[in-house]
Symmetry: C2
Subunit: 343 residues, 2 copies
């Protein structure tokens, strides 16, 4: 356990380092108004903190910088809560005041606002359609071979995909099936669609419909979960403005990773147990490229079900307090908006 003074010093060092990006020395800490000790005393404490693993020294004659463990302690115990500036709250409120009526627009816009406001990179995970349910299904023939399957979800999102129609299936038959589907499967969660298709409609369809096999295959691909979650990135180049990434090679790996959607999906996957805001520091991200980055994420939800997440990626030397504050507000407001929208 750290003493009160050690906590105070650690806090001061992290704060200083976050704003200056330079190793901080005992003297500069001592000179702060709120610290009543001489450099020598600070030095002793710093040596102890280093031994405990909270600080590191780039080289002997430099100041100290926080280690991952130091950041972790800072985030867990020292972050000043409730620190979103009123100006920022205003921007977010203004954002929600605009009436945007497509989910995708909202998310995209939010990503931009976040990256502009924080000067870090924002990574948003679009709403997971997985847990939404079917509102309407439709099959529009394009020509004699293909058709467009359209799925409208309960949240108003529209998914579509092209399917091939075997020649032996007639149009009228197709229509019958679609009607049946709409009458029986509306309000069924998307992820249960396929099983319900077989369990509830299988028998009835087999009776009324010829070419059962071929038809089922068509529906199978039509209902295939194309419902991937989408990643919305904004401000990726903000990474380049960080002094720790002035070396092109380092930043290359990071930006490359940002183009790899599957990896990002995994990283942002909403943790249902999470109490709200999650912070992954450096190696906690389990990815070499992000070893010097921190990822702060929050989720937004509908009916208590986490739908997607919003994240900010920055250097480990990140303004944790500010970003956590902003993310907290945005995720809460986003959730509120969704609740109101689909009341």
């Amino acid at each position: 356990m750290l003493t009160e003074r050690q906590r105070m010093i650690l806090n001061a060092i992290v704060d200083d380092y976050i704003s200056s990006a330079e190793p901080v020395g005992s003297r500069s800490i001592s000179k702060r108004g709120d610290v009543g000790y001489s450099p020598a005393t600070i030095r002793n404490e710093m040596a102890d903190l280093e031994e405990l693993g909270f600080l590191e020294q780039p080289h002997t004659s430099a100041g100290r910088i926080p280690s991952h463990k130091g950041y972790r302690y800072y985030v867990d115990h020292l972050v000043p809560w409730n620190s979103a500036e009123s100006a920022e709250v205003g921007t977010i409120r203004a954002f929600f005041a605009e009436k945007l009526n497509a989910m995708e627009q909202v998310i995209q816009h939010a990503a931009m606002i976040l990256s502009n406001m924080t000067n870090y990179t924002s990574i948003l995970l679009g709403p997971e359609v997985f847990h939404t349910s079917l509102r309407h299904f439709q099959l529009l023939p394009l020509d004699d071979k293909t058709a467009v399957a359209i799925i409208v979800t309960s949240t108003g999102q529209v998914e579509n995909r092209t399917v091939n129609i075997p020649p032996e299936i007639s149009l009228s038959e197709m229509e019958k099936v679609v009607n049946l589907l709409n009458s029986k499967l509306v309000n069924v969660p998307l992820y249960k669609l396929k099983t319900r298709l077989y369990s509830e409609l299988g028998e009835e369809m087999q009776r009324h419909i010829s070419h059962y096999e071929e038809l089922m295959q068509v529906l199978d691909t039509a209902l295939e979960s194309d419902h991937e979650q989408r990643i919305y990135l904004s401000g990726a180049t903000n990474m380049l403005t960080q002094p720790e990434f002035k070396d092109v090679d380092k930043v290359k790996n990071i930006l490359d990773l940002l183009e790899e959607t599957p990896t990002l999906l995994k990283m942002l996957a909403p943790v249902s147990g999470g109490s709200g805001i999650q912070v992954k520091i450096g190696t906690e991200n389990n990815h070499e490229a992000f070893a010097n980055c921190s990822l702060i994420t929050a989720t937004y939800s509908l009916d208590g079900q986490a739908l997607g997440s919003i994240g900010i990626l920055g250097p480990t030397r990140m303004e944790y307090a500010r970003v956590m504050g902003i993310l907290g507000i945005l995720s809460r407001d986003l959730t509120a908006m969704l609740a109101h929208w689909y009341k």
Copy 2:
């Protein structure tokens, strides 16, 4: 006009510089097997070429590098045609052999292949729905206030947007109008939809339908051209591997511009008069950030109508021949595929 020998030397310098990224000296040109002159002779010619504006010298004691004018001449007169490697042709053919059945997938995939193959950044402009026509229109009510308008185009693309329905319009009325729309406006080009809506249906609707004004407004927003062209980027980080962009500040401007969709849209806007492959060198791009970049574009089309374009962005020191070859093949094949698809 350049002499044959000057053209040969210019060609050699551009080739050398493209592959080495270092200023090329008279000695190294002279040593090439196919050049039968001593360094001194080459030097004289180089001095002439510099005076003519085709070459520049970073400083007195360095070799020469091609100027923008030099690249322009190279592209216009010296590029060895037909230079796509068979291996590359193979990759492209393999790509078209896979059956992808959604336009978006094709474009996205093509972008990735292009950037991987060239190690530059690929920028693809999705098909312009502007010139396609209406295949089907539908309005699906979500709740008592809103509905989703779905437009399926002749190329099988599905556009959707949420609209607000005024309370005074009844469901049955809405349905009538949608049916009318489908019977009268199918096969009308999207960009004519709105005018045709008024000219052909206005009268009839005014007769049959109450709340004409409100209804027209709904249809107006529903048919609003949300049909923006989409930009598909891939390999943006390849820029970072180019030695001329090892400085973070320079590359920052470029990457920032790549996030600005409207500017990219303008740059890639298909030039209908273009004979095929367009090359914009350096300042020809009319954008400061791209002053040291070249953008090579080609278009793909349907029924002779340019639908979208594919572009490769790299440093001015770019493998013009190879990239032009690849783009040529890809655009041709893409056009052929579209023709076959919507025959």
